[in-house]
């Protein structure tokens, strides 16, 4: 087991390395001049200072050297300084990650639990009234872009009904230490709801299809031949064969979760990694952009790793036999 996990970790490191190369290449291709961006807020600068800045940024050095410099700094734990926030990128990521993580986990739990339950209900009552209604709702949800749902939710619950705050993660004007966990959850609620609604449709429909496939399988036929009623069929055989794969799928969906959070956080001005990366791209904040990209790739890779391990444990054939 240890051997398998360490092999996986090696693969992740290789992956992150490749991601960093791609990200760096893309960023280098940009027609934006980093020095210009850096100077945007600073005003006029003398030519001598400009030369100094260019040397600092390494603008005239070949791309490969710049990449290696950046990589060495990374290994020392230094991701550079953000242009927008004028603080070390590491600090920003650490701070904002907690916020984003809370948001993503809430959404993830909601989607996972309610999505699977609804999917099972749809599968059980295939083609009857409950299935048709819920299925149509799911299709509509799948077709709705995250950000539009966020806008509608913002409109409905914050502007019209005034049940929830318009955004941010804490009430404005309060010291961070004074904010209670309930207030954090209060601000978290709408973005989390937005984030979960989009993947929700997908999970529900996938679970439904899996349950239908299971119910059409030969072992279900045999169980029926032995007299099991529909209810016991579902509980004894159907659920285990459907939900466990669905759980693994959930862990593999970290990528969509992160992507969705970019949109949800932007709409609700929620201070997380998502809104930071969007601002970074718009304002050409290269260090921050690279840092968050790497971090998101790590996040997704960990999710996939957990999914693989889980799959190995759940499926007895793979767990005891072939290995990962």
């Amino acid at each position: 087991m240890i051997e398998i996990i360490s092999k996986q970790i090696l693969k992740i490191i290789l992956l992150l390395l490749a991601v960093s190369v791609i990200a760096f290449t893309l960023v280098t291709l940009s027609p934006v001049d980093p020095v210009q961006q850096y100077l945007l807020g600073a005003g006029a600068v003398s030519p001598a200072q400009r030369v100094q800045l260019e040397a600092y940024w390494g603008v005239n050095a070949p791309p490969l050297q710049r990449y290696l410099n950046w990589l060495c700094a990374l290994l020392r734990g230094d991701l550079g300084t953000s242009l927008i926030y004028r603080r070390p990128v590491m600090d920003i990521i650490a701070e904002r990650f907690l916020n984003s993580f809370a948001l993503m986990m809430c959404a993830w739990l909601f989607t996972g639990i309610f999505g699977s339950v609804l999917g099972c209900i749809m599968g059980m009552y295939k083609d009857k009234m409950p299935d048709r209604i819920i299925k149509k709702l799911c299709y509509i949800l799948c077709s709705a872009p995250t950000f539009w749902l966020g806008l509608i939710i913002l409109l409905l619950f914050s502007v019209w009904l005034r049940w929830f705050p318009i955004g941010f993660s804490t009430p404005i004007g309060m010291l961070n230490s004074d904010v209670s966990i309930w207030q954090r959850l209060y601000h978290l609620f709408l973005p989390a709801l937005t984030l979960s609604l989009v993947s929700f449709g997908n999970i529900a429909l996938h679970t439904r299809q899996k349950l239908i496939d299971v119910l059409n399988s030969e072992y279900i036929l045999f169980a029926r031949a032995r007299g099991e009623s529909d209810r016991t069929l579902l509980l004894r055989h159907g659920l285990r064969n459907t939900l466990l794969p669905a759980l693994t799928l959930q862990f593999a969906s970290f990528a969509e979760l992160f992507g969705g959070s970019v949109l949800a956080e932007t709409i609700f001005s929620y201070p997380g990694l998502g809104s930071a990366v969007s601002a970074a791209g718009l304002n050409s904040d290269v260090p921050l952009l690279l840092g968050i990209t790497l971090f998101s790739a790590l996040f997704v890779a960990i999710g996939n790793l957990i999914a693989n391990i889980l799959y190995g444990i759940i499926d007895p054939q793979i767990g005891k036999g072939a290995g990962l």
Partner: protein, 285 residues
């Protein structure tokens, strides 16, 4: 349904094809109407700003006085164009890569699989932001970005199908008879692959359109003069808190409806083209 069309009994397959044609027609109409509307209809007209929906302005007007109905339709057209073009490019890339992976040597296959894992390892939106950044924002970045992020799952599908086909008996027999790889590809595999790829492409459209709208919303896409739904919606956020709700709701609803229709189109085609599900008797939609 049968009572309505009293003339003859329609079986399930008739109904499916009918629905598919209707949906297809609606999507094409939406696309064309956007292209045919003159620019003047959605022009700036400050005197008419922020009007609520009425008979004159079906969707109301935005803060610059532009009629939202026409602006939405034009935006829809643009979104559809971008989405479809990017999807088609994606599909071509996916097919080529998938076939290369399955027909090439083991090394090439491992390399390509690893590449697919790599691209899927970065969240779509972040990759789109990076590519858009690299191309300096605008239409080029948008097209390249969407094409470069959506080929992965289709490539996996193509690869799996070709791998499975390769192990079939009739392929081995063809080889023994001396047919070249290219011949086998064209005569045996492509007919089998084509329906799957077609369906895969059609199911790609909704994703592409939504991602295009999302990235435009964030500010990475087309300039406001060439409206895409994403831009319209992002502009609407500024005025949301003052109670101007129509720029946010109507364009979004229109997008949802189109995406829904294209999605159902893809699903129905999938049902019709797959020989197993094509036999289903019950109502499945």
């Amino acid at each position: 349904m049968n009572q309505i069309l009293n003339c003859r009994t329609l079986n399930h397959r008739h109904i499916l094809v009918l629905f598919t044609s209707i949906i297809g027609a609606m999507v094409i109409m939406a696309f064309l109407s956007g292209k045919l509307i003159p620019d003047a209809a959605a022009a700036v007209n400050i005197s008419q700003k922020n009007l609520a929906p009425s008979l004159q302005h079906l969707f109301g007007t935005d803060w610059l006085g532009r009629d939202l109905f026409f602006r939405t339709l034009k935006g829809l057209s643009t979104s559809l164009t971008v989405g479809v073009t990017a999807s088609l490019i994606s599909a071509v890339i996916a097919t080529l890569i998938g076939i290369a992976a399955a027909m090439g040597s083991k090394i090439i296959d491992s390399l390509i699989s690893w590449l697919i894992d790599l691209v899927m390892g970065i969240p779509h939106i972040i990759l789109l932001i990076l590519i858009s950044f690299a191309c300096g924002r605008g239409l080029k970045g948008l097209l390249i970005g969407i094409a470069a992020t959506h080929w992965t799952s289709l490539a996996r599908l193509v690869r799996a199908e070709v791998l499975q086909l390769r192990s079939q008996q009739y392929i081995a027999v063809s080889r023994k008879l001396g047919k070249s790889n290219r011949w086998i590809l064209i005569h045996h595999m492509l007919p089998h692959l084509f329906p799957q790829i077609l369906v895969g492409v059609i199911l790609l459209f909704p994703h592409a359109i939504i991602h295009e709208a999302a990235i435009s919303f964030l500010g990475y896409g087309l300039p406001p003069e060439q409206p895409a739904i994403g831009i319209i919606l992002s502009e609407s956020t500024k005025y949301l808190s003052s109670g101007v709700w129509w720029p946010a709701i109507f364009p979004g609803l229109t997008l949802i409806i189109i995406v829904l229709l294209v999605d159902r189109l893809g699903d129905h085609l999938k049902l019709l083209l797959n020989p197993h599900t094509a036999q289903e008797q019950e109502d499945t939609h």
